[in-house]
Amino acid sequence: MEETNCVLDIQNITKRFPGVLALNNMCVSLHEGEVHAICGENGAGKSTLMKIITGVYMQDEGEIYLRGNLLKVKKPSDAYDQGIAIIFQETSLFPELTVLENLFMGHELKKKIAGIGILDYPAMRKKAYSIFDRLGMKVDLDKTVNSLGVATKQMVEIAKALTFDSSILILDEPTAALTSREVTTLFDTIKKLKSQGVSMLYISHRLEEIFTIADRVSVIRDGEYVNTSIVADVTKEKLVEWMVGRALGNLYPKENITLGGVVFEGKGIEQDGVLHGIDISLRKGEILGVAGLAGAGRTELALTLCGLAKPDGGQLFLEGKEIKLENYRDALELGIVYISEDRQKFGLVIDMTLKENITLPLLYRISGAFGIIDRRQENAITKQYMKSLSIKAPDGDFRTDNLSGGNQQKVSVAKALAAKPKILILDEPTRGVDVGAKAEIHHIIGNLAKEGLSIIMISSDLPEVLGMSDRVLVMKFGEKKGELMRDELSQEKILLMAL
């Protein structure tokens, strides 16, 4: 069926990032007027692929053909001009500008008055309204975007894409931020567009969605193309198998160890619109996996557990005593340590050296009078963890932005361990890390647990969750969907709960 009129043909795209092979000769083809779902785990390379198509990144190898002729995009606007529009995951709207201004940013409609070209607002409004009619919704064009709800923003994003009269639309995890009701409206929209002959690449790992709207589905894993099929011909189970079907083998060196008593407990944790009455308990030496889709509220849960975000309700207990966390410092003092999923933004100061990063949270412990840092101690600590975590760097004075993703992640782990934690909260510990380093990090986690450290591990990487956890807590839309013990763990169970 490759013969049927194929509007977008992606051939052998390869893209490398420092330390990671993001895409390895990827091939996907999009047919006229179809919704083609691309699914895979987080970090499988979906978003990278899309960014290449729309010229945010340049591929290292391979070509893309638009209706048979080679597609050349240097910057996003080129793609737009070619009639390819993308709705980015991270919203690309200008919060301070009005909806109208946003819709036409960079390609405003103009008219000539006395020879001078000026913006033609009536025309733009007309077009905007017609587009929103197509989407079957009403939006006040003169509101500033930051005054809109997330769903509406999403719609504006789509509308923006349509202002380019694009025949090809790429939706990157469009529902990640939406509530189920909003999702249905979005789907109606997509159906409308489809009926209007727009071809769409629909990126998601939410299987339900794929079955409701996609015509065909392609699965990718670790940057590799796995398989393509007409949706009608596959089952959810099949897809899951494709998505995670990899030799688990020694990737997850988790030994069964006898667990101690409950050390850390959260009761009825609330955060308006984010978390709804979540109970969580952690035993000594236990690894508690927290599974769920992006936006299920896992990170928010973690933040509330370590005092980085204020809960609106609920209590925390450490070793039986109730604790109040005013800020993260309190948590540190108590030995509750959090490792952020976003190394660049919250984890590391990448412009600083390994040493400086590792000791950042415990400066106040290793510095004497007038806060003078005890360098001997500092170096000792750095050396110790560089060795125990085998961080590949010449020495502690090496700048972290020169490290590979894996080693950077190890640094943030080292940073956490240096704080001598009792409870360790890992958020996506292996995101953006190549398979080799993954194994290492898993080893580390395993050993930590063996040494009696209690770990909460948030992960979207199901095999990881399966491989590492003693117990898995599954979340969906900010609610606890259930808990699975190690012996009853299976990817299907988790997915079925999470979806």
Partner: protein, 329 residues
Amino acid sequence: MSKQSNRNSDFIKKVINYQSVLLLVLVGLIVFFGIMNTVFLKPKVIFNVIEIIGETLIMALPMTFIITTGGIDLSVGYILTLSAIVFGATLTSTGNLALAIAACILTGTAAGAFNGLIISRTRIPPLVCTLATMSLYRGIALIIAGDKTYTGFPDAFKLISTYRIGKIVPIQITYLAVFFIVFFILYNRSSLGRNLKAIGFNENAVIYAGVDTKKIKFWIYTACGTMCAMASLVYLGRLSAAKPSMGTDLNLEVITAVVLGGTSTMGGVGSMTGTLIGVLIIGVLRKGFTIMNLSGNIYNFVLGAILIVGLIAFALIEERKKTAKKGQK
């Protein structure tokens, strides 16, 4: 291996290049002026540079802290003025020197704390906040002083900036040295300095390391205020008249010195030594040109030029560093 070399080049670029180039410039200037007019090399004259830069250095030290965090304080000049006026007013009204000094220091600290409070507690950017407080403090100084000029300070007091050790070495050198060493250690060896740089690079990460960045910000602006007050005392020791129109040009002088020293207004990157050299360059330029019987205007021109060229050089170095790094990857 490649990383090894990368690190070395990194090291060379960062430490050797900029600050030492600056040092060369300083030496070059001294030699130049020495040739133009040998008087310049007389110990008494060369030491006079220290006298000239007294206030500037005292204020530039905390300013380096502030700029390292990516902030800025435009109000330092007027904090100095205000504290000086308060000192003058108190002294003339009470005649009690100790009291006057206390009042002066207190005023400066309060002014700095006010900046710190606004900057750490509200989302008002430092630039705007200090722009506002700049005219606020100036206004207060004017309201207090009116058309008065406070003079006639006791000679004992003036000694803090007029006394010369062995008739040659100005007393300033002693406490300037102390101040510098303290700030140098705090900046390069203490957890505070570490945190300042980290904040400059990525405040979020510092918050996620359990550090109370607001508190730090508050304290550095407060400290800056205190130092301004001290500077005002040194200033008054040198020019014994406190009036609202004094010290107005010190704002930009101080910032110029810090930036010239290689502290980036983007935050994170900075150097105390650089600041010291920067201030010294300013002093040498001033002294040198006056010794050549040239006016302050040329000084301004040259200083501005040096600053721009310096920045461009710095930018190019950074650029090369980046490309070098890419090369390694």
